[in-house]
């Protein structure tokens, strides 16, 4: 490195990079955690500031969300099939989920009670990349992996992703929520959600991404119920809170 600070860490397994000013890093921190049926990230980082919402999918049915800009409302699907893996109804119920918001530490305010002590790290541009006075939450988040597009099937009955990480229970993991959507009427629709099946070391993440038409009501093709399950069209980003 030519300037600044470089921190190499070790977690007992291997060395890793914690911070290197040469890489012009942006340090993203948890700005809020909570639970509820809806959340607006702008309430925590201010309008116009970038943030990403991560949520915990649940068992008992795929979790989805209405996403509109910075606002998220969560639901659990109740899926009815025709016995041949075709969806004929997809209703949903508002549910409470655990969530956490990730944002650039520069979008958080300085905690005045911490005075002028601590650690600040700047980029070469002069922008702050770390400031211990701006830490809002007594927790940290580890991004574990990004499952690339097309790698996880969309039919929750037959496919699932094995989530690798410190916990053996997929219920412990948070998934980034930006790509969730719901476009469903009474006889046809498009849905996207996540479900945890099983518990403990045998649990898997199920991904639902489907376009469906029910024959009755005119939506089906040739008088048949038709459901097309599609592999993840969006990368799946997941991680874990440490505390």
């Amino acid at each position: 490195m030519s300037y600044g600070i470089e921190i190499t860490g070790n977690d007992g397994t291997s060395d890793f990079l914690v911070m290197d000013s040469d890489l012009n890093p942006s340090n993203y921190q948890i700005v809020a955690t909570g639970s509820g049926s809806s959340v607006n990230t702008a309430s925590y980082v201010g309008t116009g500031a970038e943030a990403r919402l991560f949520f915990k999918p649940q068992s008992g049915g795929p979790t989805t969300a209405d996403v509109s800009g910075t606002s998220y409302s969560f639901y659990r699907y109740n899926i009815t099939e025709d016995g041949q893996t075709n969806i004929i109804e997809a209703t949903r119920t508002s549910i409470s989920v655990s969530w956490m918001i990730l944002s650039d530490i520069g979008n958080t305010s300085v905690n005045s009670s911490m005075g002028d002590h601590g650690l600040q790290i700047f980029k070469s541009t002069g922008a702050v990349t770390f400031d211990s006075r701006r830490i809002q939450v007594n927790n940290s988040f580890q991004l574990l992996n990004v499952l690339g597009r097309g790698n996880v099937g969309g039919d929750p009955q037959t496919t699932g992703a094995t989530i690798a990480g410190p916990s053996s229970d997929v219920l412990d993991y948070y998934i980034e929520a930006s790509s969730l959507f719901h476009q469903t009427g009474s006889t046809s629709g498009n849905i996207h959600g996540y479900q945890v099946l099983g518990s403990g070391s045998g649990s898997v993440l199920r991904h639902m991404f489907a376009s469906w038409n029910e024959a009755s009501g005119g939506g089906g093709r040739g008088g048949q119920n038709v459901t097309t399950y599609i592999s993840n069209q969006f990368p799946i980003v997941y991680g874990e809170l440490r505390q």
Binding site: V67, L102, I135, Q136, V137, N138, F181, Q183, R242, Q243
Partner: protein, 103 residues
């Protein structure tokens, strides 16, 4: 810990940053509106050409079915590492862009 650096949260006891913790790894979060076939570039992304270390995730701002199609990604070493996203369709699109570093 016996060596290194350790930063605690507001409670003074929980370690939230330090040499025993892998960090957040997010490099950049942004929202971009691209006209048809327009591009946006993000520079200063170290190791941008290493796809195993720098992962780019896009999602439509208000997601819909098949909404993520039509955004092409290129990587280069220009300007300290550049990620360029191009809207391949003729319709305008607003996307959330997340660039993560995998360590």
């Amino acid at each position: 810990m016996s060596y290194g650096i350790e930063i605690t949260g507001p409670n003074g006891t929980t370690t939230v940053f330090g040499s025993s913790l892998r960090q957040m790894n997010a490099v950049l979060l942004a929202t971009a509106t691209l006209a048809g076939q327009a591009s946006v570039s993000y520079t200063g992304i170290a190791e941008a050409t290493n796809a195993s270390k720098v992962v780019v995730v896009t999602a439509k701002n208000n997601p819909t079915f098949f909404s993520n199609q039509g955004v092409n990604l290129t990587r280069s070493t220009a300007s300290g590492g550049t990620i360029t996203l191009t809207n391949a369709s003729t319709a305008s699109i607003t996307i959330k862009v997340s660039i993560y570093r995998i360590s």
